[in-house]
């Protein structure tokens, strides 16, 4: 399963269950609040084995599933 799919599955199961319209392109603003972002960061660190730096937790990286998947992809490979 691609990172994007895994991520989408996690978000739709844990952070926004019952939100059928969520897809890779959808904005995460309004879906993930500050407490959900924290849960997401903890999950990413556990799942992909790298530390998410504080100044990388930005609207650019966390704005959509697609953007976040790209961010994870680039850090996983380091």
């Amino acid at each position: 399963m691609s990172i994007q799919q895994t991520l989408l599955e996690y978000i739709t199961k844990e952070l926004a269950p019952g939100n059928p319209e969520l897809d890779a392109e959808s904005t995460l603003a309004g879906v993930v609040d500050s407490t959900a972002v924290m849960e997401l960061v903890v999950w990413i660190e556990g799942q992909y084995g790298f530390d998410v730096e504080i100044d990388e937790i930005t609207p650019d990286n966390f704005g959509s599933v697609k953007a976040l998947a790209a961010y994870i992809e680039s850090h996983k490979q380091r």
């Binding site: 952070l15 019952g18 504080i54 100044d55 930005t58």
Partner: protein, 525 residues
């Protein structure tokens, strides 16, 4: 003195000074000067007057922080009506309950909220006069937009006093709070309540028109309204953050806009300490921070002080019903009177009452009662006396347990209510349990808060299911998210065959807390 007189004075003193900046907003609503805001709200008031909205009427505001929200707010006050602040974070049913109870003559609702609340299967029932901003649509609604009002209404009708019948004793704002009684309460606050509280508070803090503040809390909470009214009183600039979703971004906003102040609840400060580079990147112009809505632990206060050398840490304790501050402690005493939330404001009479309703001697624990010109006019529901929030002496009964020391410093020791404070939100277990009970398989539900290093308290839901197949946590969470925002959804759902009961047969939250933490507790009475 009426609250809107402050805006008029600012427009005269500093017409071209920026009154408010909205980070991340789109043109033309990114920033506004005092003269512009005064003019916009004059036009709003002129329009409202043509719709027969005036003294004694209410206008509900269902808006997230934005420039239009300020224009509506001041326009409503200028026409002599009272605003009704509706927490957009509350679920649809709570919002409907507020509108039904407050019975506003008009509602201003922002396009995003309208899309969410008025297009659903069960759309929000609104008064006839619906105000909004361009782009708002919902089936069957034709809102009057702010843009239309600004281009079709002349503000000149306001050369004569608009609201001769309004006095400082009249209600200006109704702020809904989850309060301490287990249901949303519409707290009616007068012009005089805020004038008294802000004047007394500023005597202690000494801010001037050169001060400015970054606002991260919604305007519909009294914490947000306080910052707005305070800076209007001063003629200081307010910068509205794009939101607290990304703490590092908030730090960058503090640096970019160079505000001298910041006010937050403990959650905000913990987030800034743990999830931003505050320590290595101190905003150069930041002069003070104000911690409200619960005390940080002494360790955390020290961490904050270490992270921000030269920045004064101020702490205030209060309730919406007190418009809102009751006590205050400044940087000089914060580490001298460790653990104290400060002394009563100059015009507040603070008492600690024992079980016999009489003040107890210094050092003894009792309920915090506060009297003074800042205490609310009452609840919209009219039962503030019956509920015991306002007693026979006119004092506000806070429901908080505390002691006073010999010098009059207040030390909170607990809450006598069940309120959960999580991520800066005040949450009543009953509100969440009511949502859980709507799930067809839930037979019993109880929600408790347990200590959490990041959230303050972490919400757990204990559930007994009706006979049948298991129900997944995901399903329960999805069910809650239909009516509640993420922050108000329990973090864990624990299904049990039986839930512990009190003597009267109700689910015992105290026994569940013991179960969750392993620490036995005595239920507050």
């Amino acid at each position: 003195m009426l609250l809107q007189d402050w805006l008029k004075a600012d427009a005269r003193r500093f017409p071209d000074k920026v009154a408010a900046i909205f980070c991340g907003a789109k043109a033309p609503y990114e920033r506004v000067t005092f003269a512009e805001l005064d003019d916009m709200s004059d036009r709003v008031a002129a329009y409202l007057r043509t719709q027969n909205v005036g003294a004694g009427d209410r206008v509900a505001l269902v808006y997230d922080n934005s420039l239009p929200a300020l224009a509506w707010f001041w326009g409503v006050l200028k026409v002599g009506a009272a605003t009704v602040d509706v927490p957009t974070l509350a679920g649809r049913d709570t919002i409907q309950g507020i509108l039904d109870e407050a019975a506003p003559k008009a509602v201003a609702i922002d396009p995003a909220q309208m899309a969410k609340l008025c297009a659903a299967e069960d759309p929000l029932r609104l008064p006839t006069l619906v105000l909004s901003t361009e782009g708002a649509t919902a089936p069957g609604l034709t809102p009057v937009t702010l843009e239309w009002i600004l281009s079709h209404t002349e503000p000149t009708v306001f050369t004569t006093p608009v609201t001769p019948t309004i006095t400082p004793d009249d209600v200006a704002l109704i702020v809904y709070t989850s309060g301490t009684t287990g249901r949303p309460n519409g707290v009616m606050l007068s012009h005089g309540n805020f004038v008294a509280n802000l004047t007394a508070g500023n005597e202690l803090m000494g801010l001037t028109d050169e001060d400015s503040i970054l606002v991260v809390v919604p305007l519909y909470y009294v914490h947000g309204r306080m910052q707005l009214l305070w800076h209007t009183m001063l003629g200081g600039t307010m910068v509205f953050s794009a939101g607290f979703q990304f703490p590092q971004k908030v730090l960058l906003e503090l640096i970019e806009y160079g505000t001298t102040g910041f006010s937050g609840v403990p959650y905000h400060f913990k987030q800034l300490l743990d999830r931003s580079k505050l320590t290595s990147n101190l905003p150069p112009k930041l002069k003070y921070v104000l911690v409200t809505g619960g005390a940080l632990s002494q360790d955390e206060l020290r961490r904050l002080a270490d992270a921000m050398p030269g920045v004064g840490i101020h702490l205030a304790y209060g309730q919406t019903e007190a418009a809102p501050r009751i006590t205050y402690i400044g940087p000089d005493e914060l580490f001298v009177k460790e653990g104290s939330v400060g002394k009563a404001l100059p015009n507040v009479k603070l008492e600690i009452l024992g079980s016999d309703e009489r003040p107890v001697p210094a050092g003894e624990i009792g309920e915090v009662a506060a009297g003074g010109p800042n205490i609310m006019k009452g609840y919209v529901s009219g039962d503030h006396v019956a509920l015991g929030k306002i007693d026979a002496q006119g004092r506000l009964r806070t429901g908080d347990l505390a002691r006073l020391d010999e010098d009059g410093h207040l030390f909170l020791v607990g809450r006598s209510s069940e309120m959960i404070k999580s991520a800066g939100e005040r949450i009543f277990p009953q509100e969440i349990e009511a949502v859980l009970y709507k799930h067809p398989r839930v037979e019993e539900a109880a929600v408790i808060g347990v200590k959490d290093p990041t959230l303050g308290e972490r919400m757990l839901a204990y559930i007994k299911l009706r006979p049948g197949d298991p129900v997944s946590t995901t399903e329960l969470k999805a069910h809650c998210l239909q009516s509640l925002p993420f922050v108000r959804v329990p973090k864990e759902f624990i299904v049990r065959d039986e839930l512990p009961k009190t003597g009267s047969g109700k689910v015992s939250r105290g026994a569940l807390r013991t179960l969750a933490t392993g620490v036995p507790e005595s239920e507050p009475t």
